[in-house]
């Protein structure tokens, strides 16, 4: 097991190197960090050339990549070439906000999805089952940005018509720098959380249902019933626990994906998260800031893939790693 984990971690290092190099190539081609300066009238071509040289922008991309890697390790992701400010504080701040939203949404979706999945599977073809099956199909078909916009419009209109503030439609706090777990903050993140939750819930409830049905048909469940266990003990002790295994893996993979997809939700709700930061910096052509986002996101996705693999082996002793 330990050797397997070590091998997986070592294996993800070259993957990260190659993927970051690819990203770096795309990003460097996409944006010129000195593009903004070029518009300023009293900057001479000489100054620009000097700046270019100072930041190694006159070198070919592989060389620039090496300088960037050096920066990442020695200066915590380096400085933005546009604002000349360090990137690290921005990343940690926005990452914190994104993690708060994504993890809240995922934990709620997971709990609700598992509960609904259990009930749907034990009452297959009931009204309850049909209702949530329809809901999850709808959840798969709805674009995230549409769900987010509908929620935003609904709660904006409620406020405009009745002057009742249930949830805020944008931002993080009414006063900048407010507390991270105040009622005010919860009112602000409720809609982004709800958006991400609806989509993930559709996935989890569907998977849990299918997984429960799989286990319900196994021989050991028949045995448990045959020896006279009460139904709730069969469901909770024998079916539920085994049905959880695939869900945990799916959840770990999905959280990585939701994290990357949070760009859309954060942009709509102008939430100061890492995805919104990315879109802003990309629009400005800020190469290093965009790279910082891509690296952090890649690491998180790789990390959650790793967690999924390890959990799978841990929860299901039938899986053996050679």
């Amino acid at each position: 097991m330990l050797t397997y984990i070590i091998r997986r971690v070592l294996y993800s290092i070259p993957v990260l190197i190659v993927s970051s190099f690819l990203s770096f190539t795309f990003v460097s081609l996409a944006g010129n960090p000195l593009g903004q300066l070029r518009i300023v009238p009293n900057i001479s071509q000489n100054t620009l050339n000097n700046l270019s040289h100072q930041y190694h922008l006159d070198k070919p991309i592989p060389i620039r990549y090496m300088y960037w890697v050096e920066d990442v390790f020695t200066h915590k992701l380096g400085n933005s070439l546009q604002t000349l400010q360090p990137i690290w504080p921005d990343i940690t701040r926005t990452l914190g906000h994104t993690l708060q939203v994504v993890m809240t949404a995922e934990i709620l979706a997971l709990i609700l999805g598992i509960l609904v999945g259990i009930f749907s599977a034990t009452r297959q073809y009931s009204f309850f089952d049909y209702f949530f099956t329809s809901f999850s199909f709808l959840g798969f078909a709805m674009p995230v940005f549409w769900v987010a916009l509908l929620l935003q419009i609904a709660f904006t209109d409620i406020y405009l018509h009745w002057h009742v503030r249930i949830f805020y439609a944008s931002g993080l706090n009414s006063v900048p720098g407010g507390s991270a777990w105040s009622i005010d903050r919860l009112q602000h993140i409720a809609l982004p959380v709800l958006t991400l939750m609806i989509i993930s819930f559709a996935l989890y409830s569907r998977f849990m249902r299918a997984s429960m049905l799989d286990v319900l048909n196994t021989d050991y469940v028949r045995t448990a019933r045959a020896k006279g266990l009460p139904e709730w003990r069969v469901i909770m002790g024998h079916v539920f626990r085994n049905a959880l295994i695939p869900i945990i893996t799916v959840a770990a993979l999905n959280i990585g994906a939701v994290f990357g997809g949070a760009i859309i939700t954060e942009t709509i709700f102008t939430l100061d998260g890492i995805g919104f930061y990315f879109v802003n910096r990309l629009g400005a052509g800020d190469v290093y800031a965009v790279m910082a986002y891509l690296v952090v996101t890649s690491v998180i996705i790789v990390l959650f893939n790793l967690i999924a693999d390890i959990l799978y082996g841990f929860l299901d002793p039938r899986i053996r790693y050679e």
């Binding site: 993957v15 990260l16 190659v18 993927s19 690819l22 990203s23 795309f26 990003v27 081609l29 996409a30 944006g31 199909f137 709808l138 798969f140 078909a141 709805m142 674009p143 995230v144 940005f145 549409w146 916009l149 509908l150 935003q152 419009i153 904006t156 209109d157 405009l160 996935l203 569907r206 998977f207 299918a210 799989d214 799916v250 990357g260 997809g261 760009i263 859309i264 942009t267 709509i268 990315f278 879109v279 990309l282 629009g283 052509g285 965009v290 986002y293 891509l294 996101t297 890649s298 996705i301 790789v302 893939n305």
Partner: protein, 331 residues
């Protein structure tokens, strides 16, 4: 005669395994009727192909058939947009801006902030979505198929290399990279956006096809083909490929839906299709700018949901029809 009807076609063995199937009895009684009439006419029993059985199974899948009808209608409207739409998607009327849906002047979906007819915009948007969805699915299927087939058939270092590349693409934060590439190339035509999307969409199919080729290349008929002196190309595409078509078609169908959703998201964020081409994602974005005018957001979104829902149901039906051994777990 009775013996003939009680024994199912061996190719049809898995029939009873299909979840939600009415059971083998009904299938056989239908077959019996056919056999009776042919025998009465003094004819040999006509062998049905795999495809005929698949078609029968699909037609019996009510939800999938209903979705197919709805989708044909919606896409039909998109294809014949220039005949059906009451206005051009660019024609604006500044005296009639942000008008709520009305039958007056055929503004069924209202008008937008410069007085363009929203109904016409949505109809032309369907056409763009259709073009992107089908083209992405086509490109991704061809590419994924080639990568998967080569990796699975040859194995060894080729397989290793191709699968590591696939893993790599799967590790990239797709939406972010799509945005970066779109920023690099600027907004483009729907065809260019399709090429970019296809660059990310082939990985799933490549893995599936690889798995199928890995197991099928050990089959006796492949060995027989080799013994007959068939070349690798012939074995791969004449002998193995037809046996993998089921999952490929299912995957390709579902890719259409994913592509439409992703294109809409890119266009919504302003990184997708250029401003002069109508797109459902961009139409939703114009709803964001005018949050009190609900029709701007609701209608294009509903169209996207309808299209994707129908494609997903059709994909389900196709999976049950073409690939009965595989249980469906939606990802």
């Amino acid at each position: 005669m009775s013996e003939m009807t009680s024994r199912p076609d061996p190719r049809n063995e898995h029939e009873g395994l299909v979840p939600g199937e009415q059971g083998i009895g009904r299938m056989l009684s239908g077959q019996a009727a056919v056999v009776d009439s042919t025998v009465a006419a003094g004819l040999e029993i006509k062998a049905r192909s795999q495809w005929a059985y698949a078609r029968k199974r699909f037609i019996r899948h009510r939800l999938a058939m209903a979705s197919l009808i709805v989708l044909t209608f919606v896409f039909g409207v998109g294809i014949f947009a220039n005949i059906i739409a009451p206005y051009s998607y660019q024609a604006f009327d500044l005296t009639n801006i942000l008008h709520a849906p009305t039958t007056v002047g055929h503004h069924y979906f209202g008008t937008d902030d410069i007085g363009r007819d929203y109904f016409s915009g949505c109809i032309y948007g369907i056409r763009t979505s259709l073009e992107v969805g089908v083209f992405v699915a086509f490109l991704a299927t061809i590419f994924g198929l080639l990568v998967g087939a080569v990796a699975g058939y040859f194995g060894g270092w080729i397989d290793n290399l191709l699968m590591r590349i696939t893993d790599l693409v799967l590790t990239l934060p797709a939406l972010a990279i799509l945005l970066v590439v779109a920023a690099l190339l600027g907004q483009g035509s729907q065809w260019r956006v399709s090429f970019i999307l296809a660059g990310f969409f082939w990985t799933g199919l490549a893995r599936i096809v690889r798995g199928l080729f890995l197991s099928l290349r050990e089959k006796e008929y492949v060995e027989a083909a080799k013994a007959c002196g068939s070349g690798n190309m012939r074995i791969m595409f004449r002998h193995i490929l037809p046996n993998t078509l089921g999952p490929i078609i299912v995957n390709g169908t579902l890719a259409v839906a994913t592509a439409i959703l992703t294109e809409a998201a890119l266009s919504f964020l302003g990184f997708g299709i250029k401003a002069t081409t109508p797109s459902l994602g961009k139409l939703v974005a114009s709803g964001q700018a005018n949050p009190t005018d609900w029709w701007l957001t609701v209608f294009p979104g509903l169209i996207i949901v309808t299209i994707v829902l129908c494609i997903n149901f059709i994909g389900d039906g196709l999976r049950d029809a073409l690939d009965p051994t595989q249980r469906r777990l939606r990802a």
